[in-house]
Symmetry: C2
Subunit: 158 residues, 2 copies
């Protein structure tokens, strides 16, 4: 487990995984579907195995459907910014499990100019990367789970 | 990727992963904390790397804290039943990524006898298992993301 802000420079493998993870969020922020395609495992792997959970949604399976789902998400968003915190990497052979908190600042649907203000929200992400034969890390599974604002132990009083 | 209901008998490795996944949900259903401890990676691995996201909550890190969080969850639940659907296994060397839909039937908080009826809910789970040196599969990361009832493309009309 590596927390980049606290530890010495990561190993080359961890650095490569963190770079892949940054590219994933860059693809979302810049609505770059070509980059998004490069981020995910190639179709011959991903058509069967790739898995994506958008917040609050049922899972999408297969790279083709996943990219279409991202096209829909990105088309709806005119402003979306990620601040990742608590980024952790667990490396096991050809697999990297990255967990992080996605702190998202976005405009509201239908409010292109952000005139109604911006919405802040938090999601717990699990991103599983696979090392391909060329040494590159590609996204195999992504899950983003909403964190409810009321969830900070407020139910302890029950 | 294996969907147990559709395909011929899984390979021994996939069968072992599915068995480990069943034990995890059995530990929840039977509120068996000893079994829950056996399900997760051992402390020497899991104190740093283990990761658990309960629905709507911020992530819990480290096996010790994770087991305490489960103790809290299980203490609150007097009835909880899982029906797993769309169980998929991706095996990569010593890592197994299991995704499934958790269909949960539970009583309502404070209603031990279920007199107020039961609540049905759906969660997208990602469970990452690691093969230990003894060949057993242990849970390294669990994330359960709520699926909102209104999420079935109802926003397409925007």
């Amino acid at each position: 487990m590596i927390e980049p802000d606290e530890l010495p420079p990561p190993t080359p493998a961890v650095a490569a995984v963190l770079k892949a993870n940054e590219r994933f969020y860059q693809a979302i922020e810049t609505a770059d579907l070509d980059l998004m395609r490069e981020v995910w495992v190639p179709p011959e792997v991903g058509e069967a195995a790739a898995h994506c959970v958008h917040p609050g949604q049922a899972a999408v399976h297969g790279v083709g459907k996943i990219l279409r789902s991202w096209a829909l998400v990105l088309a709806r968003m005119s402003y979306l910014q990620f601040f990742l915190t608590d980024v952790r990497v667990v490396l096991i052979e050809a697999v990297a499990v990255v967990t992080c908190v996605e702190n998202i600042l976005s405009n509201l649907p239908g409010d292109e100019a952000g005139q109604a203000g911006f919405a802040g929200s938090h999601y717990e992400a699990v991103n599983v990367y696979r090392r391909e034969s060329d040494g590159g890390w590609r996204l195999l599974a992504h899950s983003s789970a909403p964190v409810f604002p009321t969830s900070t132990e407020s139910t302890d009083a029950e």
